[in-house]
């Protein structure tokens, strides 16, 4: 008996020998870069040129530079100096996004692109990510067996949509993360079911999430993409490899925090834990979408203003995607992405929409392709209807594009490609550079902070971003006189809103006690007028 227990339990034999390892059956998933057809090559070249032209044209003219763009530009330049941010890095976002920008932004700087400004030059880096996204989107559509014209339509919609074009040229981390997530989907769909591709899909997804954390929401859709196919013999390996390597790469972020002793909250230091609680729980919410006037509702209105056609068509097409097995993940991706918008109440950033734009465009391409397959079935049954059906399909598609979206798209794209919205910004900056002493302490919005600081101040505590006197504890150590130490404040269109939303009392004090010395449109440069009784406190004549 004892001997018997030591023996391993053996399963009864299967009927006959197990069949040899199964190769995948979906030979239709044949799109790879190694075997490109002539048409694919031509279309990709055309789309590439189109993406390059549209993303570079008037890049620095419109839209106007935002504070967030300035923040990431400044952080990217800090990476060159070996730090993650000019001020204390507080785990607001994982740093890989601006580390990637830092890896590339010396190139446009070298060629003096971007009107001689650092933020303008950094937009050129983002343009490279936008062009990559456009091409990857076509490849992804082709890998999802979408016909060439409709795959091209996907990318054209992505490039021409004013929503995509306006957000896609700004220095946002989402723009850096998007090509990685598209590449992850492309690799997960690898036609060879090659384990390496699936492992790299996990890596790419981890890079995307480390570039912008909100993209983590695509995780389940990506996993569905990987497994929702006819069973193949190495599936367990693919899933394990994808999950394990993805998780291991992701783990480097908390690991880095741990090594800096900033993983968990504690006194006297920032921490990943605190940053996460702030971003997900404490940050003042944006209200619900159903509440008119809430910032969530306003955001949605803003997005719809830029492109209601893509959003509506994309949502409908995402439902159509359910009709084809390999495109159900798109439905899931769009649905997951919509969840925080529809159900959430927490803070919702304006650029949140960026990551879903390619998926909406993809849904449109796939949806049209599914509809075309449907009509094809129809004319197979009724041979006489072939030409009328094909004709009316093309007319309906072309008609809806031209009549509905084109007029609005044309108007907004033309605006974007011709407007000069940064003139006042530029004049303000130049005036400060020419007229303010490098010894003076200046508060400036983040949109021009890096360009000002690098023009001679070279000290984040004499050229100070407007949020920092209130939000970075180091300010008190360096400026014992607090807000009274400030000499100038550069006031842009966002400064008042920031003072209100972020509770910037010190910056508010500066603004109260200053008068404009020079004004350019919405911009002005204010000089502090220190009341006499305050001079005593300040201790200088």
């Amino acid at each position: 008996m004892a001997l018997l227990e030591l023996r391993p339990p053996v399963r009864p034999p299967d009927q006959g020998i197990r069949p040899a390892h199964k190769a995948p059956l979906d030979a239709r998933h044949s799109f790879t870069l190694r075997r490109l057809s002539r048409q694919d090559r031509l279309v990709m070249a055309a789309l590439f040129i189109m993406a390059v032209v549209f993303s570079l044209w008037n890049l620095t003219g419109a839209p106007s530079y935002q504070d967030d763009e300035g923040t990431y530009t400044a952080q990217a330049f800090s990476v060159h100096k070996g730090t993650l941010a000019p001020y204390t890095y507080w785990y607001d976002h994982p740093p890989l996004g601006w580390i990637q920008i830092a890896a590339l932004n010396w190139i446009p700087m070298l060629f003096n692109l971007g009107d001689g400004t650092a933020i303008g030059a950094t937009r050129y880096v983002i343009a490279a990510f936008f062009v990559s996204s456009a091409i990857l989107l076509y490849m992804l559509a082709r890998r999802l067996t979408v016909r060439i014209p409709f795959a091209a339509l996907t990318t054209v919609v992505f490039i021409l949509s004013p929503l995509s074009l306006v957000l896609g040229r700004q220095v946002y981390l989402d723009n850096v993360a998007v090509p990685w997530v598209l590449l992850a989907f492309y690799l997960a769909l690898s036609s060879r079911h090659a384990l390496a591709h699936h492992v790299f899909a996990g890596t790419c997804f981890a890079i995307a999430v480390l570039s912008k954390e909100t993209l983590a929401i695509f995780g389940p859709a990506l996993l569905l993409t990987l497994i929702n196919r006819p069973r193949w013999s190495n599936r367990a390996f693919s899933v394990v490899g994808f999950l394990a390597v993805g998780a291991l790469v992701l783990a480097f972020y908390p690991l880095a925090a741990l090594l800096r002793n900033e993983l968990l909250a504690g006194p006297d230091h920032v921490s990943l834990q605190e940053a996460l609680t702030f971003q997900f729980l404490k940050r003042s919410g944006s209200g619900t979408i159903f509440e008119t006037g809430s910032s969530r509702a306003e955001l949605l209105t803003g997005w719809l203003y830029f492109d209601k056609y893509l959003i509506t068509a994309g949502l409908i097409a995402a439902l159509v995607c359910l009709f084809r097995r390999n495109s159900r993940a798109i439905t899931l991706a769009v649905a997951l992405f919509a969840l925080p918008i529809v159900l959430g109440q927490g803070y919702l950033p304006a650029m949140y929409i960026i990551a879903v734009i390619p998926f909406l465009a993809l849904a449109v391409g796939v949806g049209v392709d599914i509809a075309w397959s449907g009509t094809e079935k129809l004319w197979r049954h009724h041979a006489g209807l072939k030409n009328p059906l094909r004709g009316s399909f093309v007319v309906a598609l072309g008609g809806s594009l031209v009549l509905m979206s084109m007029p609005q798209w044309f108007e907004q794209d033309r605006e974007l490609l011709t407007a000069e919205t940064n003139t006042d910004w530029k004049n303000t900056m130049t005036w400060v550079q020419d007229n303010v002493s490098r010894e003076d302490v200046v508060l400036a919005p983040y949109s021009m902070w890096h360009d000002l600081n690098s023009s001679g101040w070279d000290d984040p505590w004499s050229m100070i971003a407007v949020e920092k006197p209130d939000l970075d504890a180091q300010f008190d150590q360096i400026h014992p006189g607090s807000w009274r130490d400030v000499d100038y404040i550069v006031v842009g269109p966002t400064v008042l809103a920031n003072i209100e939303n972020l509770g910037l009392t010190r910056t508010g004090k500066v603004l109260e006690n200053s008068v404009p010395v020079k004004t350019f449109g919405e911009w002005s440069i204010n000089k502090m007028t220190v009341p006499l009784e305050e001079l005593a406190v300040r201790g200088t004549p």
């Binding site: 001997l3 030591l6 023996r7 391993p8 339990p9 053996v10 399963r11 009864p12 034999p13 299967d14 020998i17 197990r18 040899a20 390892h21 199964k22 190769a23 995948p24 070996g82 060879r192 079911h193 090659a194 384990l195 390496a196 492992v199 193949w232 013999s233 190495n234 367990a236 390996f237 394990v240 490899g241 999950l243 394990a244 390597v245 291991l248 790469v249 480097f252 690991l255 880095a256 090594l259 800096r260």
Partner: protein
């Protein structure tokens, strides 16, 4: 400042080297699963109807128990292939085994013969060479005394020789007594990845260290290269290297139904002795330098890496934690410390894939594995790694001292229980 830069450079270089080693291990271990096409490529070709080669099977024995030898011989004699002979190879200083060998040979006089090696030095390659002298058939095969061949193995090997036009065919060996000791599960899985995956990767690269069991070589070729190297502890690896260098066609084939079944070493001490012998053998082969005759620089690089990887791998398991601890305590810049952690990605990924392989191992051999088995596979890994590292170190010391005595692995016959059990389940 200069010292920090210097120390940081050292940490980064070591970490990148460890990353390369761990990635290479990951690649080799999982090669067979990269792509379903690889799986098709690595299995046996179809069975031909006619037999075209005849086999001389050498069964080297030393201090073996009779029941172990009898089981091995029975598996060889009941092969479905018709043209075969068995030569039991023994040493003159081991009278008990010699007596057993003759007793067995007398039972099957027309199929079994005995070869007694009378050299003063005693080791496996010398015994094999002595036996080779009396082989008469086209292909020479080697089966260790404690291994149980699958019934249809020779027929399939015959077909591979014909369809793939091979000079050498390496069949697979599988340890199966995975429940016996804490290290046996790891040991079994190690064999599984070696024959299921790693050897195929080496074969693809054109440089194969052969195994010493279930290996088949054309007799003429074997004679032409002078048989096995009698002074080498890894005579099998050495032969593979020499034949690879000559550009001969070596085919590796795997099918779970056709593996030769063996047992794990019966104690940690035996395991260490066995591993020391292998490591030392690899070092000898490396030092001999036959691989330097390979035609291209790329091939030589592959050969260098293949022969060294064994040792690298053994040390990497110990070096990675040491490097990380050093990096964390050394107060280096954050990026340097993070790079020190990089080798953990392929290392942990390899362990994750090990779990998938264990599942496949259980499926292939119809073992009912429990979640406890998966658990102990992971928990046992660092300790097993330490045994490998210790053995490699021991081998290095012996190599420096020039101590090349043969440390034989003893056989207890515990795999026979598993085979009986499987046979009962089959019937």
């Amino acid at each position: 400042m200069v010292s920090v830069v210097l120390a940081s450079t050292v940490v980064v270089v070591v970490a990148l080297a460890l990353f390369a080693i761990a990635s290479s291990t990951l690649y080799l271990n999982t090669y067979a699963w990269w792509d379903p096409k690889t799986q098709v490529r690595t299995s046996y070709s179809g069975l031909l109807e006619t037999e075209s080669v005849s086999f001389s099977l050498i069964m080297p024995c030393r201090n073996e128990r009779e029941d172990v030898m009898r089981a091995t011989l029975a598996a060889l004699l009941t092969q479905t292939h018709s043209k075969k002979e068995v030569i039991i190879s023994v040493g003159h200083d081991d009278p008990e085994t010699v007596a057993t060998a003759y007793r067995l040979a007398n039972e099957f006089p027309e199929l079994v013969r005995v070869s007694v090696d009378s050299n003063e030095t005693k080791n496996k390659p010398l015994q094999l060479n002595r036996a080779l002298e009396i082989c008469r058939n086209d292909v020479v095969g080697v089966f260790d005394a404690e291994s149980i061949a699958a019934k249809a193995l020779l027929s399939h090997i015959d077909s591979v020789f014909m369809t793939r036009n091979a000079d050498v065919v390496q069949g697979a060996v599988q340890l199966i007594n995975y429940r016996d000791t804490w290290y046996s599960l790891r040991n079994c899985l190690e064999y599984f990845t070696w024959f299921r995956s790693r050897l195929h990767a080496h074969s693809r690269q054109g440089f194969i260290p052969l195994g010493g069991n279930t290996v088949f070589i054309k007799r003429e070729l074997l004679n032409a290269v002078g048989g096995w190297d009698g002074s080498c502890l890894a005579e099998d690896c050495d032969l593979g290297v020499r034949l690879s260098t000559l550009g001969r066609r070596i085919v590796v084939a795997y099918s779970p139904e056709l593996v030769t079944r063996e047992e794990t070493p019966d104690s940690v001490g035996t395991l260490i002795r066995q591993r020391t012998r292998w490591s030392l053998g690899f070092m000898q082969v490396f030092a001999k330098g036959d691989w330097k005759a390979l035609p291209t620089r790329r091939m030589r690089l592959i050969a260098w890496w293949t022969l060294m990887q064994q040792h690298f791998m053994a040390f990497a398991g110990v070096c990675i934690p040491v490097a990380i601890i050093a990096a964390v305590w050394g107060n280096f810049p954050l990026i340097v410390t993070l790079i020190a952690f990089l080798p953990l990605i392929p290392t942990f990924a390899t362990i994750a894939f090990d779990l998938c392989m264990l599942r496949e191992f259980g499926r292939d051999h119809r073992f009912e594995l429990s979640s406890y088995d998966y658990f102990r596979l992971i928990v046992g890994t660092p300790f097993y790694q330490m045994i490998l590292a210790y053995s490699a170190l021991r081998a290095l010391v012996k190599f420096q001292r020039g101590d090349f005595r043969w440390e034989k692995t003893s056989h207890a016959g515990s795999h026979l229980v598993y085979i009986e059990q499987a046979a009962v389940a089959q019937s």
